[in-house]
């Protein structure tokens, strides 16, 4: 599993060497998520959350750190980090039996099926639909003014990728897209195990979009040498 995925993981050479050096068998995968070929002439450098599954212990500190930073509360006119309600987090850890843990977050897909699915016409000046890509960070952002809550983006993500986008239970507008916390992701910062990192990626890359169940299966095989039946209820 490790070798196969590393072959596809098209991150910078420095990181590549770093991870190999940690020890043969380190698996680092961008976001989640299986292979999909995508070419783009745009040479933009993006950064994305990478998971080292050999280090992740499933503690869910990332969920609380993400949630705290992305759901601030206003106290006396000051915006302060929230309490870290894990249900609001953009990164979610899936637990499995046999014991593997798979953190899942938005992969900043180069081809964004979610944006493709958005039915709101692109703005003539900015080229933005209700769902659009952030010009610097490359994150997927929802313009709450324009969004009509049709949930087509969430359906596209569920069908074609790992099902990251979830409509808000009330407004039906999309949530859970990774914000990279504006460039300094709190999940990376506070992971007690160094299992998460922000790695440079090229837009022009082979791309992972695997469901957590599939990753879990590969990890079970790696950790326990078992072809385990995957029992995650989700």
């Amino acid at each position: 599993m490790a070798d196969t995925n590393l072959k596809y993981a098209n991150y910078s050479r420095r990181d590549f060497i770093k991870h190999i050096a940690i020890g043969g068998g380190v698996i680092a995968v961008f976001g989640n998520y299986g292979f999909r070929y995508y070419f783009n002439d745009d040479k933009t450098i993006l950064k994305s959350i990478a998971v080292d599954f050999t280090k992740c212990t499933g503690c869910r500190t990332c969920e609380t750190a993400c949630s705290a930073n992305n759901h601030k509360v206003e106290i006396n006119g000051e915006f302060i980090k929230g309490l870290g309600d894990p249900h609001l987090s953009n990164i979610r850890v899936h637990h499995f039996n046999p014991d593997v843990d798979v953190p899942v977050t938005c992969a900043l897909c180069p081809d964004t099926p979610c944006i493709e699915a958005c039915p709101i016409p692109a703005d003539k000046e900015t080229g933005r639909k209700a769902l659009y890509r952030h010009s610097e960070l490359g994150t997927v952002v929802c313009d709450l003014e324009k969004c009509i809550g049709c949930t087509l983006c969430a359906q596209a993500c569920e069908k074609e990728r790992a099902g990251i986008i979830v409509p808000n239970p009330e407004t039906k507008k999309p949530e859970r897209m990774c914000t990279l916390c504006g460039g300094d992701p709190n999940c990376v910062k506070w992971c007690p195990y160094g299992a998460l990192s922000l790695l440079e990626i090229k837009v022009n890359r082979e791309f992972f979009a695997e469901k957590p169940e599939k990753i879990a299966e590969l990890l079970m095989n790696k950790f326990y040498h078992v072809e385990a039946e995957v029992e995650n209820g989700n």
Binding site: C59, T61, A65, I80, L83, H87, P192, E231, G233, N234
Partner: protein, 604 residues
């Protein structure tokens, strides 16, 4: 409610009537008993008004208590305390047939925080269902569902099947195995296929209610009083953990780190507590486990320690079997050193079996060790053991016995009651090496070379307990650790001041160190009063004769043994310090007033 950080709400479920209701927790109880073990004890006291209740009767409540830290991102705050009246302990002279102590048992994982996410500070289950059921909780929606299809299922398989049934990975669950269903008196409650509320028969009480499992999912969040300071303190605490040396120590080997060091110090349970040093300890120690078994570390909710290790057996009879956890210090000692087992692969298979069948591995290993000694001394023969050749170090024989115990088959029926019941039956002086206090088996720390631990075992309110503490101060302190919801392994990073600071920020009231110390003492005393009412007296705080007779013969601490007079003096001083009567152990009226426990007087 003035006190922040709580929902102020308990979920009451009566499995006899199917009634489900929310009850408000009195504000005074929250401040006086805090949560977890403490608040659980207060609830138990209120619900059991008379002594002598049969612990397996529908009236005995099974109480699941997270603490005020649970659900908040306080590092290592994953614990849930299960409180009930023990089905496993008994008094030496009590007028009540069913006299038993309180029982509290503490588990990590994710279910404690999830109970709080569902909007409750605790769950109280009473009654008895007429068929196997499980409880499904999604915030305010609570259902009692049929579990007939799952009855009889071992915990590992059940964990997988249950996730499928629930069809949503956000559910956090806990459950019993066949041992709990069959009312083995030291059956435990398991979650994530290996973490356990192990001690004191919590799984037996759950089984007596025909309750297979509890599944919880919630989307709420506890609040805190002083938000800004709280989140700043969380960041500071996380950084502290990151920089702490002990964090790396826990990650490296968990409690298995001390398997070898304890052995060298002569403090390990070896050969049914005959010795404190196991000469083959390296063979089942942390280095061997790392080389031969472990694949990965994993952690409980927001915990930076990751002391739990999973792996796979790679050689021998059990090759390619997956193991969820262990050896830990307790499981590795009780099913390893204590049974003279030096085969790590066999040991792992035994640990897996204990978890899978749902038994407290401490009591289980102690019970097998007792039978091995009785067999070795020819007090019992193979016929008594249904043909099992139960020799020291015998993995296969131990495995046969474990299965018999879980299913109460033949000798397993008696062995499922623990060493006290076995020695009562076997007689012939076997009580001298029946290693229990109040019917509760001792854990993996041996006593000949550690009188403080001896006092801890003798005076623990749930029967012999290695987590009790060796004097009044540590005991009261440990009570608080079990009450706030933080893990005792992480306590070193908090200490009294850290616990107090966090609790004050969460609740918004001044929970200074003295107030918290007093709460710890109050909780410990309420437990004691409960036991006193059941008929437990000083004679019940009795260590087995072995520790005063059988000096160690192996290792650097050869010759170590407890001195009777000296130990008695230690105990006298302890009781005086506690403010308890030296003979009856009844807390004095002055003590009751000091601790706001006067309300117990008219129930005594």
């Amino acid at each position: 409610m003035e006190t922040k950080g709580y929902f102020g709400k308990l979920l009451f479920i009566n499995l006899s009537t199917g009634a489900i209701e929310n009850r408000t927790i009195p504000e005074a109880d929250i401040q006086n008993f805090i949560g977890g073990r403490g608040l659980g004890m207060k609830i138990l006291w209120d619900l059991i008004e008379k002594p002598g209740l049969n612990p397996l009767s529908p009236e005995n409540p099974l109480i699941l208590m997270p603490g005020p830290y649970s659900g908040l991102p306080v590092p290592s705050s994953s614990r849930t305390c299960v409180v009930t009246k023990s089905p496993h302990t008994s008094a030496i002279q009590s007028k009540y047939e069913h006299a038993s102590t309180i029982s509290y048992s503490n588990m990590g994982g994710f279910i404690g925080p999830e109970i709080r996410f569902a909007g409750y500070d605790g769950i109280v289950i009473t009654g008895k269902s007429d068929k196997p059921v499980y409880i499904k909780i999604v915030n305010d929606k609570v259902e009692i569902k049929d579990a007939s299809d799952f009855w009889g299922m071992p915990t590992d398989k059940f964990d997988k099947k249950f996730q499928k049934e629930l069809d949503d990975y956000h559910f956090k669950t806990c459950y019993i195995g066949p041992a709990g269903e069959n009312l083995v008196s030291y059956a435990c409650i398991i979650n994530t296929a290996a973490r356990a509320a192990g001690r004191g028969g919590t799984g037996c009480v759950m089984g007596s209610k025909n309750l297979k499992a509890i599944a919880v999912k919630g989307t709420k969040m506890p609040n805190v009083a002083r938000h800004k300071e709280f989140v700043e303190l969380i960041d500071k605490t996380r950084t502290k953990f990151k920089e702490s040396k002990s964090t790396g120590w826990w990650r490296y080997g968990g409690t298995a780190n001390v398997l070898t060091s304890s052995s060298y110090q002569g403090t390990q349970a070896v050969k049914n507590y005959r010795e404190g040093t196991f000469e083959d300890i390296e063979a089942i120690g942390v280095k061997t486990a790392k080389d031969k078994i472990w694949s990965r570390d994993f952690a409980c909710y927001v915990c930076p320690l990751a002391c739990k290790k999973s792996g796979v057996i790679k050689e021998g009879t059990y090759k390619s079997h997956l193991v969820h956890d262990g050896p830990e210090y307790e499981t590795g000692t009780m099913l390893g050193a204590n049974l003279m087992i030096n085969d790590i692969n066999g040991l792992m298979e035994l640990i897996y079996a204990g978890d899978n069948l749902g038994m407290d591995i401490i009591s289980l290993g102690n019970t097998i060790g007792f039978l091995m000694e009785a067999y070795d001394k020819k007090l019992i023969d193979e016929t008594f053991l249904d043909g099992i050749n139960l020799t020291w170090g015998n993995v296969e024989a131990s495995m046969q016995l474990i299965k018999k115990i879980a299913y109460k088959d033949g000798i397993g029926k008696l062995a499922s009651k623990g060493v006290k019941a076995l020695s009562d039956k076997i007689g012939q002086g076997s009580e001298e090496f029946a290693i229990h206090v109040k019917g509760h088996e001792l854990a993996a720390w041996n006593v000949q070379n550690d009188p403080g631990m001896g006092l801890g075992y003798a005076t623990a309110n749930r029967g012999a307990c290695h987590m009790n503490g060796e004097n009044m101060k540590t005991q009261d302190n440990n009570t608080i650790v079990d009450s706030v919801g933080v893990c005792s392994f992480a306590y070193g990073e908090y200490n009294e001041s850290g616990i107090s600071e966090l609790l004050s920020l969460i609740t918004g009231i001044d929970m200074n160190e003295e107030k918290i110390r007093l709460a710890g003492e109050r909780i410990f005393n309420l437990e004691k009063i409960f036991n006193y009412r059941e008929g437990f007296r000083r004679i019940d705080d009795k260590l087995p004769e072995r520790f005063f007779e059988d000096a160690l013969t192996v290792g650097d601490h050869k010759g170590a043994v407890l001195k009777k007079e000296k130990f008695k003096k230690m105990m006298d001083e302890y009781y005086a310090n506690r403010g308890w009567d030296n003979e009856t152990l009844k807390p004095s009226d002055k003590k009751l007033e000091e601790l706001d426990l006067v309300f117990t007087k008219d129930k005594l």
